[in-house]
């Protein structure tokens, strides 16, 4: 147990299936305090399902997940967890809301029922917008912004409650190359200066390896987990190369 003491998120022997299809098989993964873990894997590797299990949206068929040593189903301190989802899935682009309104939503759970934003909260919203470089867009409508700008607003919404862990699910999808670079610089800053533990889920393994401290590769099972220094290209090709052939094979209908 001594190696897991610093584990803010612990995934123990987690298996999950949709119908008869195994999505995750006996996944063990500990995310240590202060680390920046890049979780990579091809499409359909179960990454998003794992995130849903960590956040309590799905219950695993086997195994368990603890957040700050508390099982997810009993976890109450949600202000410690910040979450940036795949933008396209959950966000209603027609929703008339200003950047300020969107970021303030990150504080609602923390403030609690029947209480409202005070001066301190408003200052915190301004500071967080400053941190992600979106302060001058405060009064703009969220729907008018570019993909990269919207993403920074959603990061601010997740950060405004001062979480200890930030979980990001495919945050760079639909974001231009320059914004992706800015995004990784911001993540490094959050990890090093603000001491926020980061879990970044992505299928784009190349971009992230420069910035993360740890890498985990998932394809139903966990194929690699370790320091990013120990991570070798061969791991990557064994994980992806195999899959790429499979996809080609399917498209060729057995011709290859």
């Amino acid at each position: 147990m001594s190696t897991q003491e610093n584990g803010v998120i612990q995934i123990e022997n987690v298996s999950f299936r949709y119908g008869t299809q195994n999505v995750l098989e006996k996944v063990n993964l500990t995310i240590e305090q202060g680390s920046f873990l890049g979780l990579a894997g091809p499409n359909g590797s179960g990454k998003s399902t794992l995130i849903k299990i960590i956040l309590g949206f799905e219950t695993p068929d086997m195994g368990r997940v603890t957040l700050f040593h508390v099982p997810v189903s009993k976890f109450k301190n949600w202000e410690k967890i910040g979450y940036v989802s795949q933008k396209a899935n959950s966000f209603n682009t027609g929703f008339p809301a200003t950047v300020y309104e969107v970021v303030s939503m990150g504080l609602y759970g923390k403030i609690g029922l029947f209480r409202f934003l005070n001066k301190k909260h408003k200052k915190k919203i301004d500071e967080t917008l400053q941190l992600v470089g979106m302060r001058e867009f405060k009064h703009r409508s969220i729907g008018e912004l570019s993909g990269g700008q919207q993403q920074r607003v959603f990061i601010a919404r997740a950060l405004v409650s001062e979480p200890e862990v930030l979980i990001l699910d495919e945050p760079t999808v639909g974001v231009d190359t320059q914004s992706v670079q800015q995004f990784y610089h911001l993540m490094s800053h959050l990890n090093r200066e603000k001491k926020i533990t980061l879990l970044l889920v992505t299928h784009d393994i190349g971009a992230m390896t420069k910035y993360v401290t740890h890498v985990a590769c998932l394809n139903k099972r966990l194929h690699f987990h370790g320091s990013s220094h120990d991570f070798e290209e061969s791991e990557l090709s064994s994980l992806y190369g195999h899959d790429v052939t499979m996809i080609t094979h399917e498209h060729d209908h057995g011709g290859a």
């Binding site: 949206f57 008339p96 809301a97 609602y108 029922l113 703009r140």
Partner: protein
């Protein structure tokens, strides 16, 4: 001092002109405005049941608005449940509930000794038939809605914008969805007497549809919606009284005109910028 039927009707209409667009704004951003249509028809079932009970069972005198509310609440909860269960077929819940509601209420009214007379009033609304008891029901309901709405406004906003995030931020989304179902049921049942089953959907969705053309924030959406709702009610009641036209219908026609105007204004960017400066 006893109010005249005109004063009662007018007050009731103004209250509904405030409340319906407010709840309608949230329904619209949740992409579930169509729910108001099905719920109003379920409310009709409840009203029919209330009318039938009062007429057939001795010593029982129920204001049909109460039974209407009970049915609306039940329908609202069933739809919310179906929406969560069939997340990919959310639109399926509405027509089922709607047609079942109309079917049952038609059966109930055909049994009723008084026939379809009273039923008709609830289809299109009848502002002149607002009794003192109705007005009290409408006022109390409006008070409850305003109180709940202001207490839960930030949670309702967050859940409507992004349910997943709201949940991770520590908001009990099932709790908020229940509260909101309650609000929708209340608003529909209070509107029955004035705008009726067939037209309540207009007061819930049209002001918001107009407001969407101008609103940059959620706050503005609420403000514009209420403004358009009240304006339509004022003009609608006034013209229907003076020219002897059906009130509910008149209100809806004005709402539709406002919406058309809003769409035209929105597209004319110069006017739009002027208004939003």
């Amino acid at each position: 001092m006893e109010w005249t039927f005109i004063e009662r009707g007018f007050t009731a209409a103004l209250i509904i002109g405030l409340i319906a667009p407010l709840v309608g704004a949230v329904l619209a951003v949740r992409r579930s405005s169509i729910i108001s249509e099905s719920l109003s028809h379920v409310t009709l079932t409840g009203i029919s049941a209330g009318v039938l009970l009062s007429q057939t069972v001795n010593m029982v005198s129920i204001n049909p608005l109460y039974t209407g509310f009970v049915f609306a609440l039940a329908g609202s909860l069933i739809i919310e449940k179906l929406r969560q269960t069939y997340s990919h077929f959310q639109e399926l819940a509405s027509p089922i509930i709607l047609s079942a509601g109309v079917g049952v209420s038609a059966v109930l009214m055909s049994i009723s000794p008084s026939g379809y007379g009273e039923w008709y009033d609830y289809l299109f609304g009848s502002i002149v038939s607002v009794t003192k008891e109705d007005l009290i029901f409408i006022s109390v309901t409006a008070g409850v809605i305003l109180l709940i709405f202001s207490l839960y406004s930030k949670e309702i906003k967050s859940v409507s914008f992004d349910q997943e995030f709201a949940r991770v931020s520590g908001i009990s989304t099932s709790h908020i969805n229940f509260i909101f179902s309650l609000l929708v049921a209340l608003v529909i049942s209070m509107s029955m007497k004035v705008v009726g089953v067939l037209l309540v959907g207009a007061l819930i969705s049209l002001p918001v549809a107009s407001a969407m053309q101008f609103a940059k924030s959620f706050k503005q959406l609420l403000g514009w919606s209420v403004l358009f709702g009240e304006f339509a009610v004022l003009i609608g009641v006034y013209t229907s009284y003076h020219f002897n036209i059906a009130t509910g219908g008149m209100i809806v026609v004005i709402l539709a005109v406002i919406m058309l105007a809003a769409v035209v204004l929105r597209k004319n960017s110069m006017l739009y910028r002027l208004l939003n400066r």
